[in-house]
């Protein structure tokens, strides 16, 4: 069936351990195997023969990624001349990269220290600027006086109070003379005999002292020049270190390229580690493949494996449906809508993929709610403009714009003007009640279609009782049809007789009986639960249908907004009129367009998908060989 995921087969492959990497590579090249890591508890093979290989591959990958960040040129794609990478080769490479990373890390640490030194000097410069106006001889600060010792420098502001108190224990005083950006510039002074103790406290407080060189006897501006020179020297050192680092990495480029090739080639076998089980030399692999590849897989394995092997392909049992991955047929046209469907969930195996119906109804509803030739054309052109950067959004916008233009023709609306072109049908404002009625009929059709899909999906998922008796099954469909009948009779004849009563109560009774069978607990609790579930079913069907009134309401709203814009424009002179009409249209396109897009999505998700689409499928993630 074209609207359901591809038919899948379960694959059970038994082989000799030496052939396992070859089998992994063969299957990765085909890109059709979704490995299954969960095995039944009674599966006879228990060991994970590739676990060590996977660990080493993981470690090597981490080291490679860390070092690759320092490489300034792209790596060549992996060559497939050598296909099998042994565990020993991976270990040897891992050791090489470990050694290389130690060297790289050492450079990085040196660079960090140099950058920290620059930060310290900048703090010192900040202190010096405070002294600049004083024209003080800073060499006095360096002198170890017989009685007095002075320290000048910076401390992080949060440390200052505690430091000040602590230093009083050693007989030193602390004065902050400037504070900025979380740093305090301080002078610490006290009796010389305690200075060793004070130095340790200052170290603990992250004090960065202003170092006055021994030969120095000048003014603050002179010292500032020296500090600037030191910064320049450190920057040169940083550049030299960076060059050495680049040269180290460059000198090992071949090793890195080789490591990358090995990582790519080893990835299929390593990533199968959780799905491979073994005992002695026997190894088993389980997974899922699209049924149509059965013969091709068998042929390629026969061609590539050196030793005999045993392979089985089996259709999934109903109990296994939940673990079968869903492979959807590819359609470039539907791809953007597939992304919106995936926001809700992935179709389960054998469940109908709603993407096609979603795309059609979404585009149609957008047009119905936002019908205007001019606005639609702007959206379509804007969509085309997005093609290169956002191709998915571009397709949706172009289709929505075209739909909007189509319904613009139907309503006779052009940039909000209702009388410029003749409508193919009528303007929404001409007969709003008729439009609301049509919206409800559209909604009823939408919900009925959802009910039919739900019955089919439940049946295909091996849940026949649910498909027949539940609110999402035949009973639910019958109840909804009865609701439609009742609504029609009330609308057309104003009558509600025994036939309508019977048509409503019979399927509702079946639905409540279905809830009763699945409920548990005390009698009163069960009665209450079933009553509430039944009531909820009735209300949700009515409210769900009325929800589609918004399709008409937004088309009316669109015209009302345009009328408001024209009313304001009508009060202005010609230039003001033009500007108001242009800005008003922009406002309508951007704001109302976005609201309508969201409302359409809401109707699809809540009134459509929640009725028939489980969305609890598993994504197909095949084993692949990447370059």
């Amino acid at each position: 069936m074209p609207f359901t995921p591809l038919a899948m087969k379960k694959i059970d492959l038994f082989m000799v351990d030496t052939d396992t990497p070859v089998a992994a590579m063969t299957l990765a090249r085909m890109g059709v195997l979704h490995p299954q890591e969960e095995a039944s508890p009674d599966f006879p093979l228990e060991a994970f023969p590739a676990a060590r290989y996977q660990q080493v591959h993981h470690d090597l990958g981490l080291r490679f990624d860390k070092i690759a960040g320092y490489v300034g040129k792209p790596f060549a794609p992996a060559t497939s001349s050598r296909e099998n990478v042994t565990l020993e080769q991976l270990q040897e490479l891992d050791e090489q990269l470990r050694t290389l990373w130690v060297e790289v890390s050492e450079f990085e640490e040196q660079l960090r220290r140099q950058r920290e030194r620059i930060a310290t000097i900048r703090q010192m410069s900040g202190s010096l600027q405070r002294f600049a106006a004083l024209d003080l001889d800073l060499s006095r600060l360096r002198r170890r006086g017989r009685f007095l010792r002075i320290f000048v420098g910076t401390v992080p502001s949060p440390n200052l109070d505690q430091l000040r108190r602590a230093l009083t224990l050693s007989g030193f005083l602390t004065r902050s003379f400037f504070s900025s950006e979380g740093i305090d510039h301080v002078v610490v002074f006290g009796a010389s005999e305690q200075h060793q103790d004070v130095q340790e406290v200052l170290n603990s407080a992250d004090f960065r002292g202003l170092t006055v060189p021994d030969e120095f006897s000048g003014s603050p501006s002179r010292l500032q020049r020296d500090l600037d020179l030191e910064v320049t020297a450190i920057k040169r050192k940083i550049e030299a270190l960076e060059r050495e680092l680049d040269s180290l990495v460059e000198g090992n480029f071949e090793t890195l390229q080789h490591a990358r090739d090995c990582l790519v080639l080893a990835r299929p076998y390593a990533s199968l580690a959780g799905a491979l089980r073994g005992k002695g030399r026997l190894v088993s692999l389980q997974g899922w493949v699209p049924a149509r590849y059965e013969a091709e897989i068998r042929r390629r394995l026969e061609q590539n494996l050196a030793c005999p092997f045993h392979i089985e392909f089996a259709d999934p049992e109903p109990a296994e449906y939940s673990s079968v991955p869903s492979v959807m047929p590819r359609s470039p046209f539907l791809k953007p809508f597939q992304m919106l469907v995936r926001n809700f969930g992935i179709p389960a195996y054998r469940e109908i993929d709603p993407t096609g119906a979603f795309a059609l109804s979404y585009v149609l509803m957008f047009g119905m709610m936002f019908g205007d030739i001019g606005h639609g054309a702007v959206i379509a052109i804007a969509g085309l403009g997005l093609w290169k950067r956002f191709p998915a959004a571009s397709v949706v916008a172009v289709l929505a714009g075209i739909s909007s233009m189509g319904f613009g023709l139907v309503y006779g609306s052009l940039f909000g003007y209702e009388h410029v072109i003749e409508p193919l049908w009528m303007s929404p404002m001409q007969d709003p009640v008729r439009l609301l009625l049509l919206a409800v009929i559209w909604g009823a059709g939408f919900i009925l279609f959802g009910n039919l899909l739900s019955i089919r999906n439940l049946w295909a998922a091996g849940q026949p009782e649910e498909a027949l008796y539940s609110g999402k099954g035949v009973a639910g469909l019958a109840f909804y049809l009865a609701l439609c009948l009742v609504a029609y009779r009330l609308y057309s004849a104003g009558r509600f007789g025994w036939l309508e009563t019977l048509a409503l109560t019979l399927p509702l009774a079946v639905i409540m009986w279905s809830h009763w069978r699945h409920s548990s607990g005390q009698l009163f609790e069960r009665v209450l639960v079933v009553f509430i579930e039944g009531l909820e079913h009735v209300i949700s069907n009515i409210s769900g249908t009325l929800s589609f009134l918004r399709v008409a309401a937004f088309s009316l709203n669109h015209i009302a907004l345009a009328a408001a814009v024209f009313a304001i424009a009508g009060m202005l002179d010609t230039p003001g009129h033009i500007v108001t009409v242009v800005l008003g249209n922009v406002f309508v396109i951007v704001l109302e367009g976005a609201i309508v897009a969201i409302q359409c999505l809401r109707l699809e998700y809540y009134e459509g998908f929640s009725r028939f689409f489980s969305g609890n499928g598993r994504a197909f993630e095949p084993l692949k060989l990447e370059s």
Binding site: R112, Q162, R165, T168, L169, D197, V201, S204, A205, D206
Partner: protein, 341 residues
């Protein structure tokens, strides 16, 4: 917070406090076998931790996960500074991971062993544990840590480690100190009433921390009074800065104890070891937190108290269960939970 939300949170706190295991019963677990302990924990907590009878299902992680689940429920109704404060307080759990990582990396412990001991804090985790464990050397790990929310703590820890003789014990103390300073500073952004209630618990915690580390710095490490005082955290109410400065100048443990204000002097008098004093002081701090949780009405302080109590309970249970599983003797387990006296 609306009246309804306050009532809801208050009821939640009452319910959760009923799951806490009181201290005498925790101490009693030391003399019981593992199955009995697990059965009692299940009975008291209504199997909140989902422990199986044999204790084979990763008990330690379940204890933490159960606590975090409670915290998630409790902090949800808070907003603004209160929420930020409580979320920061929950970092108490992550500090254990941080210390474990730093200790493990600097001591050359195998990555698999470090990973085994780390606790998954789920949404509450700020540390990229997997990347940190997989670093190849301690300096690489510290560089990575400096890009996390712990950058400030790590910078100070690195400084202490590099400048002060690679002492991992001091490194742990620095991490705790930075945490408490930050926590105390965050109380300034709370309403006065919240801050006043919190101060009753915080003061006790800070006094305990400061007294014990003052004793260690002065008499185990032989640091000067000035440096010992500086390395303490922000000060509490009874052991304020002036009092701690006086204590720092004293020359023996006995002199410090004799100069302590009541009730601390009475609590630690006669105890010879600093670790014994720590246990006694912690017990009293937790008693105050338990009183706050059960008798007061301030929701920020009650929630904070609950976090402290759950952290202490999880730490105690983990030590006992690990000891039982490794078949340690009774005395060793008592020492592990700080009951060596």
């Amino acid at each position: 917070m609306s009246g309804f939300t306050s009532q809801y949170l208050s009821t939640r706190l009452d319910l959760f406090s009923g799951r806490l295991i009181d201290y005498p019963r925790l101490v009693g677990f030391i003399d019981q076998d593992l199955e009995r302990i697990l059965a009692e924990v299940r009975a008291i907590t209504g199997n909140h931790y989902d422990l199986d009878a044999s204790g084979s299902n990763d008990v330690e992680s379940r204890l933490i996960r159960g606590a975090l689940e409670d915290f998630r429920v409790l902090i949800r109704p808070f907003s603004g500074n209160e929420r930020r404060y409580l979320r920061f307080a929950i970092r108490l759990f992550e500090l254990a991971n941080l210390k474990l990582l730093i200790r493990g990396k600097f001591s050359g412990v195998d990555n698999a062993e470090i990973r085994r001991q780390l606790v998954d804090l789920g949404d509450f985790a700020d540390l990229p544990l997997s990347r940190l464990v997989e670093t190849d050397d301690p300096h690489e790990m510290l560089r990575l840590l400096e890009t996390t929310a712990y950058a400030g703590i790590v910078r100070q820890a690195r400084h202490v480690y590099e400048e002060q003789g690679h002492d991992l014990f001091l490194l742990d103390a620095t991490i705790d100190r930075s945490f408490f300073i930050d926590l105390e500073q965050r109380t300034r952004f709370l309403h006065d009433e919240d801050a006043a209630f919190l101060a009753r618990v915080m003061d006790e915690l800070l006094d305990r921390y400061n007294l014990l580390w003052l004793l260690r710095y002065r008499f185990a490490y032989g640091l000067s009074p000035a440096r010992s005082f500086y390395l303490l955290t922000t000060t509490g109410r009874k052991l304020n800065a002036t009092r701690l400065m006086q204590l720092a100048k004293l020359d023996s443990i006995e002199a410090v104890i004799a100069a302590l204000p009541e009730p601390y002097r009475g609590r630690v008098a006669g105890l010879a070891r600093i670790s014994d004093m720590e246990t006694v002081m912690e017990y009293h701090a937790l008693t105050i937190a338990a009183d706050m949780l059960r008798t007061e009405s301030n929701l920020v302080a009650r929630t904070f108290s609950y976090i402290l109590l759950r952290e202490a309970e999880a730490r105690f249970l983990q030590a006992v269960i690990k000891g039982k599983r490794l078949e340690f003797d009774r005395e060793l387990i008592r020492q592990a939970v700080g009951l060596g006296f």
